[in-house]
């Protein structure tokens, strides 16, 4: 994805942004099809919110180009972009009631009163708040305010809806309920949307594709499944899902892969590396079994916890703490017991050590 594609609904190319001496966005490329849901995932300070603001027109990039629905909007002010934003604080207007908030954008567009009323009603019924139209904002709960903010953003039928940590202020239970409901709603109205979050679970649930951002760059842009199974960088591995990883040096390399000498023992990886280079070897906890296999290590059990559908076994392998996931019903090893454990070569991930976070 190097050149802006004419078929894309939203296309971000070559976007960079610096604040003083710090680079917050570095050569960002992102293309989205119409109706696609993409999440920008990363820790705070990774530039995800800045990228969202660039799309909204609240921040202007130093270089690069943003196109929305076939129009170059790089220099367009926010009010000429037709984007909808759901802010982290919701940013509802305290001086207007629910209907006033939802109809605000339509009123500015000079729609007739009757059209505004029906559009407001439609937006509010999408978020199940049609009975709250006359309520003042302060009389609503946090979850209801969140819905009003969403209704306000979709009422103007924007080309893209942007969510800036929009669910983070809700408590966990409400947030999980909102995640699936929101996804359903956005699919229903065929909306194109970008979410910004630091919550990987939210990212995996909500989106068709996830862009993992780190230090102003997109480390990996992939669908949730690929992101989990084939993380492109050590950072993407550590940020999405659980993993166990060991550092080591490549001692031999052939056509099928390399052998990495780690503190816990030698491990095979299905990828070629230069001899002597430092490599991180990793896998997901659910691929580990307490038997010998492709990559076998020995360690001491330091803890085992039963969690219903699964059990977690914590193993100390020559000073490195690793967590293995077992089926819930299996017999757990005792604390202090020395165990042999392994995972298949096909599930072995490897990353060049230099790119490690």
């Amino acid at each position: 994805m190097t050149a802006p594609d004419a078929g894309l609904h939203l296309s971000i190319s070559n976007v960079s942004k610096r604040f003083g001496a710090t680079t917050v966005l570095e050569d960002i490329h992102l293309g989205m099809a119409k109706g696609e849901l993409v999440t920008l995932l990363g820790p705070s300070g990774c530039g995800k919110t800045t990228l969202l603001r660039v799309v909204a027109g609240l921040t202007h990039p130093d270089t690069g180009r943003v196109e929305l629905a076939g129009r170059d909007i790089t220099r367009a002010p926010p009010y000429k972009r037709n984007v909808g934003v759901v802010f982290q604080s919701y940013a509802l207007f305290p001086h207007l009631d629910v209907a006033g908030n939802v109809g605000f954008g339509l009123k500015l567009r000079g729609l007739p009163k009757a059209d505004i009323a029906s559009a407001v009603h439609r937006a509010l019924s999408l978020v199940h708040l049609e009975r709250y139209a006359d309520r003042p904002i302060r009389a609503l709960s946090g979850g209801q305010q969140q819905r009003v903010a969403l209704a306000r953003a979709i009422a103007v039928e924007p080309s893209v809806i942007l969510f800036d940590e929009a669910l983070s202020a809700l408590d966990r239970k409400l947030r999980e309920a909102m995640q699936s409901e929101l996804r359903h709603l956005l699919t229903q109205i065929g909306a194109t949307a970008i979410f910004v979050t630091h919550d990987q679970e939210e990212a995996l649930t909500m989106s068709d594709r996830v862009a993992v951002m780190y230090k102003g760059r997109i480390d990996q842009l992939a669908d949730p499944r690929t992101l989990y199974d084939q993380p492109a960088t050590a950072f993407a591995l550590s940020f999405v899902g659980q993993s166990l990883s060991l550092k080591g040096k490549v001692v031999s390399s052939d056509a099928d892969g390399s052998v990495v000498e780690t503190s816990a023992g030698p491990l095979r990886v299905p990828r070629r590396f230069l001899r002597g280079s430092s490599v991180i070897v990793a896998t997901r906890p659910e691929h580990v079994t307490l038997t010998a296999g492709d990559n076998t290590l020995t360690g001491t059990v330091v803890g085992a916890t039963f969690q219903g559908s699964r059990s977690l076994v914590e193993i100390d392998a020559a000073g490195t703490r690793l967590t293995a996931e077992m089926p819930g019903r299996c017999t757990l090893p005792e604390r202090g017991e020395t165990v042999i454990f392994s995972w298949p070569l096909s599930e072995t991930l490897s990353f060049s050590g230099e790119e490690h976070a």
């Binding site: 926010p78 009010y79 940013a91 001086h95 605000f104 500015l108």
Partner: protein, 265 residues
């Protein structure tokens, strides 16, 4: 012991309320006095003192001057104080805390001293225009009230509201007019109320800056009271009180007294 504490605090609160209301009730009652000696209107109320207010010597010019100065100084302070409060609360200004403290500091300083200071100052720079001199002085009286209320209001103001306005189709000026100003309306209202009353009631500063032709209403009233305290003054006081009550009711409707108690002493 706990019961005693509750009884004491309620007794103190009831006493405080009655004590505070007493002079206001008395002045209103005395304004309907049938005789010129402040009798309570037990026999029959009289409205004749109200019809005499307008005949008080120099009353109309004084009232007009006070209203004019209070309205203008409030408007100017609202603009100037709000701009400063934005600079202070947005935190981009070095030394903003010092500026905030300085802007509010005239509240704690004796008005009389400010009055003589300004008198000396005007004399020394040869500034003799008493109307504009009075207006400038009242800016120092009203600005602290506006600054304090607007700093409190703006520190709670979510500036992403303006961005929300922009993304919904507002231009920058529209965002200010249609989002920021209405969202801050309660703060503007409280600030205006306190600022207007502080200027309208001011005596200790004004007294040094007026000449024979420019006397504010409080100066005139003190003069009437010292010269000939008859129920006409009570009638005038009652009208001023009624105006104050009206302003407070509007503020209560719009903002709520509890919130006012939080932002203003």
């Amino acid at each position: 012991m706990k019961q005693l504490a509750i009884i004491v605090s309620w007794a103190a609160a009831v006493f405080a309320c009655l004590f505070l209301l007493a002079p206001l009730v008395v002045i209103a009652a005395a304004s309907f006095s049938p005789t010129p000696v402040f009798d309570l209107p037990t026999g029959g109320a009289s409205l004749r003192w109200y019809s005499r207010i307008g005949t008080l010597d120099g009353f109309w010019p004084a009232l007009w001057l006070s209203v004019e100065i209070a309205v203008l100084s409030t408007l100017i302070s609202l603009v100037v104080g709000t701009l400063a409060a934005i600079a202070i609360t947005r935190g981009k200004l070095p030394g903003s805390e010092i500026l905030a403290a300085a802007l509010v500091s005239p509240l704690m300083m004796p008005g009389l001293v400010l009055g003589i200071g300004l008198l000396q100052y005007y004399r020394s720079v040869g500034f003799t225009a008493s109307w504009s001199g009075l207006l400038l002085a009242h800016l120092v009286i009203t600005l602290p009230y506006v600054a304090r209320t607007m700093i409190a209001g703006l520190s709670r103001f979510d500036f992403t509201l303006i961005e929300a306005g922009l993304t919904l189709g507002c231009t920058w000026p529209q965002s200010i007019v249609r989002v920021m100003i209405p969202a801050l309306a309660p703060s503007f209202l409280i600030a205006s109320l306190f600022s207007f009353l502080a200027s309208f009631d001011n005596y200790p500063v004004s007294i040094f800056l007026t000449d024979v032709r420019t006397k504010t209403l409080p100066i005139k009233m003190l003069q009437y009271i010292e010269e000939a305290p008859d129920p006409t003054i009570a009638a005038l006081s009652t009208i001023i009180l009624a105006g104050t009550v009206a302003l407070l009711l509007i503020a209560d409707r719009a903002v709520g007294l509890s919130r006012m108690a939080g932002t203003a002493e």
